[in-house]
């Protein structure tokens, strides 16, 4: 049996948006109806070849901008390659954006019909599957309510339920496996395994390397639009992780000096942490606090070059490296302003309920997609939590003991 999906020497070039290109009719007329042919092209994808056999799951990994989405769109047939070709043995289905066609005023049932047809099914085929879809989404009680009354989780379940009832022969999956609660995720993964068992060829694009390593048979690794590696999934993922780490280290200006100065610190410091202070409950710089007291980590960040989007992380770890608390702007939904000049960041922790002991503070400044550390600075500061040491455990949680015993006659206890 031949491959379900055959990709041969695929290439796609985009025009650079140089501002020369007339994007508006007005400018086109003003430029004398001319076609500005000066626009440069760059290859978003080139010389990419691979096969996916029926029943096989291929992972695609690589940084943002490596060409993963372009590859996906070419395979989905919604973009036309400039070089090479794609041969498919069956229509390609996508599990890309869920809820594409959903209308909030329509009921869940009506949206199933709409979404099913938009996903490639005939209306008749969706109608045959409606009951199974409702069942899968676990929304039987709400199915005749308008979707606008649904929680976001319910909408995702509905979207996913429709998408996995298309019975694809070739399926493209883009980052959507992280939807819903854990139980629902398991169900979706089981469903995908089912497709695979039935001979469906699957291409999975994911940032979750762990998922690619464990779920996929093979993986390809894209870098700057070209195939950087391919092979069995765990090996390829490992190679990718290794190179990511190496690259960050390589971009560090002078590793030797950096190491002697601040052990373990790496990153090219396009933006860097110039100072870190631990502020105690009186608002004063301190090296120690009491257990359960508030604490503020005050970071001063400076740019060597401007960065539009970035993240900051602050972790509290034991001296042995065990991370006890890991906070970052991304997870908390904090959007940091573009960094053009010195910026001060205060991270207030209402109470630090750690056992008395010595702790270290690791801070990091990251590229917006977490792929790259501008400045990762472990043990940037130290913090002592005062009190009696030597207890087991990690936390010092406020607690009270209360012991009740059958009350003794009060008269006897009084002395």
């Amino acid at each position: 049996m031949g491959p379900a999906l055959h990709v041969a020497d695929l290439g796609k070039a985009f025009r650079h948006r140089t501002g020369q290109e007339p994007r508006s009719f007005r400018r086109w007329v003003e430029n004398g109806f001319g076609r500005t042919t000066t626009s440069e092209r760059f290859w978003a994808l080139r010389h990419v070849s691979f096969d996916v056999a029926p029943g096989e799951m291929l992972g695609v990994i690589g940084r943002n901008g490596a060409g993963k989405s372009t590859l996906l769109r070419l395979m989905g047939g919604v973009m036309r390659p400039d070089e090479g070709r794609i041969e498919t043995s069956a229509p390609v289905n996508g599990l890309l954006e869920l809820n594409t066609g959903m209308h909030p005023d329509l009921t869940g049932r009506e949206n199933i019909i709409v979404n099913g047809v938009l996903a490639g099914l005939l209306r008749k085929e969706v109608e045959e599957r409606v009951d199974r879809i409702i069942d899968f989404a676990e929304l039987a009680n709400f199915i005749d309510d308008p979707v606008r009354t649904y929680s976001s989780g319910m909408r995702l379940r509905l979207g996913f339920a429709v998408a996995v009832h298309v019975d694809p022969k070739i399926l493209l999956i883009d980052e959507v496996l992280a939807v819903g609660d854990l139980a629902f995720q398991q169900k979706c993964l089981a469903r995908i395994e089912e497709f695979r068992a039935r001979g469906c060829a699957i291409v999975l694009i994911s940032h979750e390397l762990e998922q690619v390593a464990t779920r996929c048979d093979r993986a390809i690794w894209l870098a700057h639009g070209e195939l950087r590696g391919s092979g069995d999934a765990p090996t390829t993922v490992e190679a990718y992780i290794g190179s990511m780490r190496a690259e960050t280290l390589q971009r560090t200006p002078d590793p030797a000096e950096a190491v002697s100065e601040d052990a373990g610190r790496y990153g090219a410091r396009e933006i860097y942490v110039s100072a870190i202070e631990v502020i105690d409950r009186h608002g004063l710089p301190a090296t120690g606090i009491g257990a359960g007291e508030p604490v503020t980590f005050r970071l001063t960040v400076n740019p060597q070059e401007e960065k539009q989007a970035w993240h900051v992380s602050v972790a509290v770890a034991r001296e042995d490296g065990t991370v006890l608390l890991d906070l970052n702007s991304g997870a908390d939904g904090i959007v940091l302003p573009p960094l053009t000049r010195e910026c001060r960041i205060d991270l207030q922790v209402e109470r630090l309920d750690l056992l008395p002991g010595d702790y270290r503070i690791d801070v990091g400044l990251w590229q917006y997609d977490w792929d790259y550390a501008y400045d990762y600075f472990p043990s940037a500061a130290h913090l002592t939590v005062a009190g009696e040491r030597g207890r087991q455990g990690i936390l010092h949680i406020p607690h009270h003991w209360r012991i009740d015993q059958e009350a003794a006659p009060t008269g006897e206890r009084n002395e």
């Binding site: 985009f14 025009r15 007339p22 994007r23 508006s24 009719f25 007005r26 086109w28 769109r73 989905g76 047939g77 919604v78 973009m79 036309r80 229509p91 390609v92 289905n93 996508g94 890309l96 954006e97 594409t100 066609g101 209308h103 005023d105 329509l106 009506e110 019909i113 709409v114 047809v117 938009l118 996903a119 490639g120 099914l121 005939l122 209306r123 493209l172």
Partner: protein, 259 residues
């Protein structure tokens, strides 16, 4: 480009159907409200024109309410579809990035949805016609032919503006202005017969003139439409549609790059 299979065509039909249905359901929660809203805009227009041109500056056109309303209903179908089509590709990025989604369904669905809205205004149109003593008779059978001609014209323009707006994003500002111009170049509130000959030579380029006049002949006077201009509109419209469709198809391969 390979020939579409019969399943593809069935799927295209279903896609258009659900898009129309979603659009209609999104607009109106109940059928009754649907009729009210669909009718509200043309009726308000009708009342304005009626007041202006029968009382303020009388044009002395017989059956003036019918005269205006027939044209308004036809015009609304054209105008609404064209202005929706401008945004239909740019505004549906997630749909056009869906594998196997037939992009061409978007402008067609818009035309069909507005045709459905037109149907909702028919009861009011009927009332107006009856009230003014319409002569409509056997020639009503030609109505579907005139509507088909109009559909061809609408689609020809819809495909063009849908694809063009992906490249030129300011079409959203230009098209409404052009539509307004077109509206005055269409004999909606005035009488085409009263237009001076030289001006008529210019207006005749506008296919809506023929369409509106044909509707009036059939619905108000009960006569048979003038076939020569109607056939010309159909042929011209078909050629234009073939061209804009080809342009749309060629451009659609690059839609995602531009959006």
């Amino acid at each position: 480009m390979s020939m579409p299979s019969s399943r593809d065509l069935m799927h295209l039909r279903d896609v258009i159907r659900v898009l129309v249905w979603r659009d209609q359901r999104g607009r109106y929660t109940t059928t009754l409200m649907g009729v009210v809203w669909a009718v509200a805009a043309p009726v308000l227009f009708l009342m304005t024109f009626y007041f202006l041109f029968t009382f303020v500056m009388p044009l002395a056109i017989p059956n003036y309410a019918s005269h205006v309303f027939v044209a308004l209903v036809a015009w609304t179908w054209f105008q609404a579809t064209v202005s929706e089509s401008v945004e239909c590709i740019v505004g549906n990025q997630s749909l056009i990035s869906q594998p196997r989604f037939p992009v061409a369904a978007l402008p067609v669905a818009s035309a069909m949805s507005n045709l459905l809205t037109l149907c909702l205004t028919l009861p009011v149109l009927l009332l107006v016609l009856l009230a003014e003593g319409s002569q409509a008779g056997l020639s009503l059978v030609t109505l579907p032919i005139i509507m088909l001609c109009q559909l061809v014209v609408i689609l020809a323009i819809a495909f063009l503006v849908a694809a063009l707006n992906v490249r030129f994003r300011d079409l959203g500002y230009i098209v409404p202005i052009l539509l307004q111009l077109f509206m005055f170049a269409t004999p909606i509130f005035y009488d085409y017969a009263a237009v001076p000959d030289r001006a008529r030579a210019v207006l005749a380029v506008n296919p809506l003139v023929t369409l509106v006049e044909s509707y009036r002949t059939v619905l108000i006077q009960g006569g048979w439409p003038d076939w020569t201009p109607l056939v010309l509109v159909f042929l011209g419209g078909s050629v234009a549609l073939a061209l804009t469709w080809r342009y749309f198809r060629a451009a659609s391969a690059d839609f995602l790059e531009e959006v």
